[in-house]
């Protein structure tokens, strides 16, 4: 049974560019959350989506946006990339709209140069 899958695994972008990260949750899970983990820190909550609706948003600028598709997969979009956006982006899948147990994907390592 496939776990949470994210793509791509690594990405290098230039400042000012746009990036799209993708996540497929565990089969049967309807909630996807996105986290940003800067090197040496704990993950920071960006978004949660449940049944294709945004249920929560962390303290991130409007350059960050996301959506969830009918098959419950999700995309995280970041516009006008800054050097400070370099991080590991983690997608977490959970069964319901509130967290009971979240399962994390392997992450996408984004480097902005």
């Amino acid at each position: 049974d496939a776990g949470v899958t994210q793509s791509p695994t690594h990405l290098i972008k230039t400042r000012g560019q746009h990036v799209t990260l993708r996540c497929s949750p565990i089969s049967g899970h309807k909630s996807v959350s996105w986290y940003q983990q800067v090197l040496g820190q704990g993950p920071q909550f960006i978004f949660q989506y449940y049944e294709k609706e945004e249920r929560g948003r962390g303290n991130f600028p409007d350059r960050f946006s996301a959506r969830q598709f009918p098959n419950y997969s999700s995309e995280l979009n970041v516009n006008a990339l800054l050097l400070g956006d370099s991080a590991l982006y983690l997608c977490a899948s959970s069964l319901q709209g509130y967290i009971t147990e979240a399962f994390f994907g392997q992450g996408t390592r984004l480097t902005v140069v």
């Binding site: 959350s33 704990g42 993950p43 929560g56 967290i99 399962f103 994390f104 392997q106």
Partner: protein, 109 residues
């Protein structure tokens, strides 16, 4: 604002020794999680603690939750090198989890 504080942030242990990692948080929550992260890897779920007094054990690790004290502990018994990793606690505040800064554990032979 919810704060989640772990200590210590860095821990170097000898194999065979015992130690405890502490996780304090500043808001009411009945759900707390412990994760392990190896360098360059994602988060692996270790324990899900869903009520006051919950205690769970897996191998050399044991986690407990005291919601009244807003404290969770992760106890390591007879450490082995394979336990070297960063350990995070995370407090559930309904739609997201607030993570501590992590405890980087190194177990030396």
């Amino acid at each position: 604002e919810l704060k989640v504080e772990q200590n210590p942030l860095f821990l170097s242990m000898q194999e065979g020794k015992n130690y405890t990692i502490y996780c304090n948080y500043s808001t009411t929550s009945d759900r707390l999680y412990w994760y392990r992260q190896d360098p360059g890897k994602s988060l692996e779920s270790l324990f899900v603690l869903l009520s006051n007094g919950a205690v769970k054990q897996e191998g050399r690790l044991m986690a407990s939750l005291d919601t009244k004290a807003r404290l969770s502990t992760l106890h390591i018994t007879a450490a082995v090198h394979d336990l070297s990793a960063t350990y995070f606690c995370a407090v559930d505040i309904m739609i997201d989890m607030r993570f501590g800064a992590g405890t980087r554990l190194t177990v030396k032979p």
